[in-house]
């Protein structure tokens, strides 16, 4: 089986995070064309106001995705420095989970125009929930580590 060293794995994660950020930036350029492309698939005829709302939702989602990506990158930097089980790392994971939940809310609003968005909303809320649990686990681990570090 292919075995990747811990450090290499960390570098791969960082590179992927940066690549994803580049993809997000490209998406902001493509978004208007994309909205135009999917316009005929809407459940109701779209006026100018609807178009603007859908665009706003799209940009909001991209914004939250970027924020989550930045938080993930900072989390990876913490892992690199060996400060995983700290209050800071817990706060970063919590931030990412809130981003996922915010995205799910935006997708839920988009459901008004595109029914299929409910699937994405569902996925995002599930992701946010999983991250919250991870955050709880890391928080508990942080407490145990502090106790262990302060045992002489």
């Amino acid at each position: 089986m292919l075995k990747i060293s811990k450090n290499a794995s960390l570098v791969i994660s960082k590179v992927l995070t940066v690549l994803f950020f580049v993809v997000l930036i490209c998406s902001t350029v493509i978004l208007p064309h994309f909205v135009q492309l999917i316009a005929p698939a809407a459940v109701r005829p779209l006026g100018l106001r609807d178009g603007v709302l859908i665009m706003a939702a799209g940009y909001l989602i991209l914004l939250f995705a970027m924020l989550a990506d930045v938080l993930l990158f900072r989390l990876l930097s913490l892992v690199h420095r060996g400060e995983v089980f700290t209050v800071k790392a817990v706060a970063l994971i919590r931030g990412v989970s809130w981003c996922a939940i915010a995205v799910s809310i935006v997708f839920l609003l988009v459901t008004w125009y595109y029914l299929i968005a409910i699937v994405l909303s569902f996925t995002a809320v599930l992701l946010g929930l999983c991250l919250r649990v991870v955050k709880n686990v890391v928080e508990e681990a942080t407490a145990i580590k502090a106790e262990n570090d302060l045992t002489v």
Binding site: A146, E147, L150, T151, V152
Partner: protein, 67 residues
């Protein structure tokens, strides 16, 4: 709360922190944590080594104070 009176005993024995850490076999950083009352727990083995190094009793180092 439990208070550590390590500095009192060290002064009485005229022992420095570095000397004690050598004798007890724990790092200077950990000994500082203990001396400054920041520790959350102490192992029996550590307590044993400290009492042996300072030639004192447990109650010379540990004290219960009502907060």
């Amino acid at each position: 709360m439990i208070v550590i009176n390590l500095d009192v005993m060290m002064a009485r024995r005229k022992m420095s922190l570095g000397e004690l850490s050598d004798k007890v076999g724990i790092t200077l950083a950990n000994l500082s944590i203990l001396k400054n009352n920041k520790a959350k727990a102490i192992r029996f083995s550590t307590l044993d080594a400290i009492c042996r190094a300072l030639d004192c009793r447990v109650e010379d180092i540990l004290e219960y104070k009502e907060d």
